[in-house]
């Protein structure tokens, strides 16, 4: 008691100081801000829990093990309407991954091409690409998806009038693009092993070639030798093993083609629309990256007698990548997140399966949305982590 009295008498204006003392004030403001944020989230969560309890609805994931009772058209793993909900979620997850990865690859290729063309000294090419980029990136991506899907299903023929190529092995219809399906025989293992050996050899050879170059200045044609090891060697083994492969051809039976591999219009539309949309952004990023490198660098490389192609790959691109990678990462994140628009055209991604049909049939909206949120978050964080690692690798080494 005495202690309190002395401390309060020595600081008669503690309350005053909490708000007007420069140091204490900053702490006070932080405490109040944090308290408000906590109170806000506490209110939200508490509200949800109270209301769910009030109507007697718990928060439980046990429904994930019940039969899903619905079918999905594009399944890369075994699935039918007897499978549990969690499996439907995995099917959706794989479909999301598929379109995201395919989209990232295509958008990167198209984006780099467009970015380089955008810098072309040819006036026509330069302007055409400019118009394309400005059109594409200023229209919402959902409209692109609906447009591409509309074009695919409305202009391509129905299965009965399918467009045919290569003597009835490839079919193009508005229900998909059908190709023969390769069925492997046991001897295919030899080819696979040959491929692995080829990759291993390439890795070793690259290191060896670099060592030789460092020591003697001699440059091996690494690209050609690698291609030979990775592609030609397995192909030779493939023929030596007696072509251990049979093809299953698609065939029109009843309403649809049966057999073969199929790329469905929903996938194609989503993939193309997402890729072309994102490519426009990537093109601008690539242009910015290349323009960020001063022309003096090129001139200096030429002055040293380095060939134009090696100037590009050894001087310009490594430096441009430093500028390109961080914004490129966020484009990759965008393409992944935008793939959730799939439901508009009926592509069965994670939002359409567990976040759509499962949600609706079980009525477990909180649980389903938690799963979808967690998956997208994990996804985005993984892409971020990878791109950060790559960025660190590419960073300018300062001495």
């Amino acid at each position: 008691m005495a202690a309190t009295e002395t401390s309060s008498s020595s600081n008669p204006s503690l309350f005053y100081r909490l708000f007007f003392d420069k140091e204490l004030r900053s702490v006070t403001i932080q405490v109040i801000t944090m308290a408000l944020i906590f109170a806000f989230f506490f209110f939200i969560v508490n509200n949800a829990i109270t209301n769910l309890e009030a109507i007697g609805k718990g928060y439980s994931f046990s429904f994930l093990w019940d039969a899903s009772n619905y079918d999905i058209n594009q399944t890369l793993i075994e699935y039918n309407s007897r499978s549990p909900h969690w499996r439907a979620a995995v099917v959706g997850l794989i479909n999301t991954l598929l379109v995201a990865v395919a989209g990232i690859i295509l958008s990167t290729i198209v984006g780099f091409l467009l970015g380089v063309l955008r810098l072309s000294s040819n006036w026509l090419i330069n302007r055409v690409v400019y118009v394309y980029i400005e059109y594409v990136r200023n229209v919402p991506v959902l409209l692109h998806i609906l447009l591409v899907h509309g074009i695919v299903v409305n202009t391509l023929p129905i299965p009965k009038n399918a467009m045919m190529a290569f003597d009835g092995t490839l079919f193009l219809t508005n229900r998909g693009f059908y190709t023969p399906k390769p069925l492997f025989e046991p001897a295919m293992w030899a080819v696979l092993i040959a491929f692995v050996i080829g990759v291993g050899f390439t890795i070793w050879f690259k290191g060896y070639a670099k060592k030789v170059q460092d020591a003697t200045g001699k440059i091996y044609p690494v690209l050609w030798i690698s291609l030979g090891a990775i592609l030609l060697f397995p192909i030779i083994v493939f023929f030596l093993a007696g072509v251990p492969l049979t093809l299953e051809y698609p065939e029109l039976k009843g309403f649809n083609f049966k057999g073969g591999l199929v790329l469905r219009p929903e996938f194609v539309a989503l993939w193309l629309a997402l890729s072309l949309y994102t490519a426009a952004f990537i093109a601008e990023i690539v242009r910015a990256g290349i323009q960020a490198i001063s022309h003096g660098q090129t001139e200096a490389a030429f002055a040293l007698g380095i060939k134009p192609s090696r100037t590009m790959s050894l001087v310009i691109i490594p430096q441009a990548l430093r500028v390109i990678i961080p914004p490129l990462s966020s484009q990759y994140l965008n393409i992944t997140k935008n793939s959730s628009l799939a439901i508009a055209i009926g592509y069965m991604d994670i939002v359409a399966t567990i976040g759509g049909i499962s949600l609706n049939q079980t009525g477990r909206e909180m649980e389903c949305m938690t799963i979808v949120l967690a998956i997208y978050l994990a996804f985005s964080l993984m892409i971020s982590a990878f791109m950060n690692w790559y960025n660190k690798r590419m960073k300018l080494v300062e001495r």
């Binding site: 702490v27 932080q30 405490v31 944090m34 308290a35 944020i37 906590f38 109170a39 506490f42 209110f43 508490n46 509200n47 109270t50 209301n51 009030a54 109507i55 007697g56 609805k57 009772n69 619905y70 079918d71 999905i72 058209n73 309407s81 609906l146 509309g150 299903v153 409305n154 129905i158 508005n174 229900r175 039976k253 009843g254 309403f255 649809n256 049966k258 219009p265 929903e266 439901i343 508009a344 055209i345 009926g346 069965m348 359409a352 759509g356 049909i357 949600l359 609706n360 049939q361 079980t362 009525g363 909206e365």
Partner: protein
């Protein structure tokens, strides 16, 4: 350490503020607000859709208006909340809507697990298939291997999966979020078949350029009793809404119409059933917290069940639906309202 202290203090302050939510009965809430929040579809022609003037109209809409008339005295004091198949129950359960009339199938899991209280059936429906006439298909049993467009967010996927499994047939499902995009796919030939409730198929076909080029197959593969629902736990409100629905059906059976209800209400007649409904005998309104004129207001606002049916979805409308199962039990249907007594 400083950060930790900051966090601890903040958490303590946050815990001090708790949320308390007191709820009066829904009936009192609606009357205090002076407006009924009715959950409907985003647009199914004939059932609930805004008309040319932007005014909501349709079969389900009229039941909402009848409820508003009984509770608030004016069939126009309704705020319509359009929802998708996905959001409808959340909107109702969160308290944003008071009453749901949205082509909703009554099922056990929805009743028990989703914590809804269903009030009865206002339309007996079943899932059907629509195909282009040119396909030459006459029965759903011939659909093995077909591509089928489904409007997702309904019990449709489940029925379809069950039906094809039971008949040992395969199919390719194309699940699409909205009816509009589903139609685009169907008309473009992406799918051979379009499936949803038979009433929905009739509604969709009615909007086509050439409705006669499409047929609805005879097989009805499921029971879809469509009915209104309210949140579980408010029995008084459930009683009010349930008896508005019942009285509209009973009114048709008794011959009470929009035109003659005022006359019957003026003085007691010889028909006891009618007298009880219009409040000239007994006081049934007070049992559900309303006055004697509750049913009179509901019927004069939109008419009896038969009038609502014929005006919105009957044979003389674009949908052209026959009464079928939805005729009164006295006319060969299964519509059978418990008596008001």
């Amino acid at each position: 350490m400083k950060l930790f202290k900051t966090l601890a203090v903040s958490a303590a302050v946050a815990l001090a503020s708790t949320s308390g939510a007191a709820t009066a009965g829904t009936l009192q809430d609606v009357q205090a607000r002076g407006e009924l929040n009715c959950v409907v579809t985003t647009g199914v022609a004939g059932f609930a859709a805004p008309d040319d003037a932007g005014r909501w109209a349709g079969f389900d809409v009229d039941f909402c208006r009848a409820t508003a008339a009984a509770v608030l005295g004016d069939g126009n004091k309704v705020k319509f909340i359009p929802t998708t198949g996905k959001t409808r129950f959340t909107v109702l359960n969160s308290g944003e809507g008071d009453l749901l009339y949205r082509n909703t199938t009554i099922t056990m899991s929805r009743d028990a697990d989703l914590k809804l209280t269903f009030l009865g059936v206002n339309y007996y429906d079943g899932q059907g298939f629509m195909v282009p006439k040119a396909l030459g298909v006459t029965s759903a049993k011939e659909l093995d291997g077909a591509s089928i467009c489904i409007q997702t967010g309904t019990t449709t996927e489940l029925n379809l999966a069950d039906y094809f499994r039971a008949n040992n047939m395969s199919y390719e499902p194309v699940a699409i979020e909205t009816n509009e995009e589903g139609q685009v796919n169907y008309l473009a030939g992406r799918c051979d078949v379009y499936t949803t409730d038979a009433s929905g198929l009739a509604s969709t076909r009615g909007t086509f350029d050439n409705p006669n080029a499409h047929i609805i197959l005879p097989e009805i593969i499921s029971k879809e009793p469509l009915g209104p629902a309210v949140r579980q736990g408010d029995d008084q409100w459930a009683d009010v809404t349930r008896w508005v629905l019942n009285v509209l059906i009973a009114a048709e059976e008794a011959g009470l119409t929009q035109g003659n209800v005022a006359g019957h209400a003026a003085k007691a007649g010889s028909n006891v059933d009618i007298n009880r409904m219009v409040g000239t005998e007994g006081d049934f309104g007070s049992m559900i917290g309303l006055d004697k004129q509750w049913a009179v207001r509901a019927i004069s606002a939109v008419g009896n069940y038969g009038e609502i049916f014929e005006r919105n979805i009957g044979v003389n409308t674009g949908l052209g639906l026959a009464r079928g199962l939805n005729a009164q039990w006295t006319n060969g249907g299964i519509l059978y309202s418990p008596p008001v007594r």
